[in-house]
Symmetry: C3
């Protein structure tokens, strides 16, 4: 059974899975497939048409939560366990893995490919053609750009490697590759590719060292990176088991 | 004939032109004049009163598109072909030319003057008293400030020249003039006036060279600036003809 | 008498004070106490449940104004005269003094403590556990961070002293203390504590001088700081009297 608020506007063509809820004043257009146990907050609009490209449905996987005032276009897809903040915008043709978390006021401009268990905090801006790996974490007010000589027709999306962390208010310039397990410091402007497990910072960003030299600030003197050796909040059990098995193998 | 969604709240004093549409749950106050063939998305509020100043109508020109969740105060005006993203805020007493494009989550704080065919991407913040010329392009997360000694009553708006390009996440300090056809690099903090056709970058921004020395990144080795010699997307035919005629005269 | 728009959705458990107004399409949940003479704009949602922590009501003090499209969770409180812009988000367990002004698109992430007569312009991001004193002023696009080694469980909120001013597009790093009456210049990245009455700027921020050496840009040659000796707009009479009495005592 689905719970649709009486004030919501739902197209008869929309597919809405079992045990899902649509909040007050939300609008679901026809070209939308919503999975099971999905909760959509108030004042959302899902499935806005993009008449300029090839059209496919907006697909929201099972067990997702889309918070209020969010806007999704058709032709993008999300595997299960999507969680968004408020006022999120997602344009067309972006394909995103499991457990994606999109912070309040973040925007994904379309034509992006995003892996599993990626987490954005608030106000993350993702330009067209960005490619993001698995387990990436992006802090507030980060901008991933794509046009090396604005305005032009040469869009070079950034490429962000697995487990990379991009700190608050940083900008990644068009086409830059951030290596896996790397850390971009706050307020950096990254012009060049970042090798894996490397810390960069500054405007323009320079290499500051190895991530593995950074200690936690909790008094424990333990290494802060790779972060998934100590930080597990909101990752599912099967992932924690995988991470734990890797640690065991490494004799940690 | 106009198409007003049954859930929209429209003042009987509002003027709405032929073939215009008002989306679900949108609110149009009385002091609003909407032209012909204008489309207003869902969850918008247009014509909010500003009781502190002299009051005139909000005017939206013909053939405009205002996307969902946007907020416009009274006493501002837009010539034809305005296009906005979502969650746009425009305060009072700003007067804007033809073909203005305002990206998602951008905000215009009021008392601004903006020329023709100006294009903002997402999250552009325009402080009070800013003056922007024609054909200016502003990338995401740019902030145009106005108070040299915050807080004070001396608001010095930025002045941005024709065809200037301001790249992502830059800040222009109060009263700074950016010359025509100039380029502000990403993440710059611009403290001093920028001469025309000049590239500046860094914190604080320094002159990096002439725009005419920058090449396109498409393998063609053609110059990237003046950008209007190669980039024409979404400009109207009469403008393209004007640009083309100028090129012919210059023997290009 | 209260004025509740017929399209608003109000829980019968919500408490709404005399002479208050709820705008079109707004939602007020049950765990909300709204004071007297409060005006809530359109498309707001107040009192969203946070099921993970201890729950208390959202309290909005008398004579407040919450502008359209704003989102407040339960368990936060605001003394009288709160004024917000549009699209504001406030999470749970933040406690804020009198006369708080929150600009458009600003976000307070929760577990914060904010003093009296604090004023944020647009797009101010306040991470969890931030502590802000009295009469603080924060310019657009400022980010107050909290995680020194993201991601971690060690959240170190920033601490901002009384009368401090943080200029546009600056970032304050986790746990940094900004002294009272200090000034952070535009686009700064503040890594270290800022002594009182000090100007800092740059990436990383360095000490640039004393605030008392900065002059107003209005031609008067008067000192710009302490700002409350010349700037009084929108502060209440009793505060202006207090400031004026201090000036008299100092023989100014």
């Amino acid at each position: 059974m689905t719970f649709i608020h009486s004030s919501a506007q739902i197209s008869t063509k929309a597919q809405i899975g079992e045990a899902s809820e649509i909040g007050p004043f939300s609008i679901i257009h026809g070209n939308v497939i919503i999975g099971k146990n999905v909760k959509i907050g108030a004042f959302c609009e899902l499935g806005i048409a993009n008449l300029q490209g090839p059209r496919s449905p907006l697909v929201i996987g099972d067990n997702s939560l889309i918070r209020s005032h969010s806007t999704f276009y058709e032709s993008s897809s999300f595997e299960s366990e999507l969680i968004t903040g408020h006022y999120v915008t997602v344009r067309e043709n972006s394909h995103c893995g499991k457990g994606f978390q999109i912070g309040t006021q973040s925007e994904i401009q379309g034509d992006c490919k995003i892996g599993n268990y990626v987490k954005f905090q608030s106000n993350v801006f993702v330009g067209k053609k960005t490619i993001i790996g698995n387990f990436v974490r992006i802090s507030p007010y980060v901008t991933l750009t794509n046009d090396p000589t604005p305005p032009s027709n040469t869009l070079l999306g950034c490429i962000i490697g697995d487990y990379a962390v991009i700190s608050a208010a940083s900008v990644i310039l068009p086409g830059v590759k951030v290596g896996s397990h790397s850390l971009v410091a706050a307020k950096a402007c990254v012009l060049k590719d970042v090798p894996k497990e490397t810390v960069v910072g500054g405007v323009p960003a320079k290499v500051l060292g190895k991530t593995t030299d950074i200690k936690l600030r909790d008094g424990s003197n333990r290494p802060a990176y790779p972060w998934n050796k100590h930080f597990t909040r909101n990752y599912p059990k099967e992932i924690l088991k995988e991470w734990s098995d890797t640690k065991s193998k490494e004799g940690l």
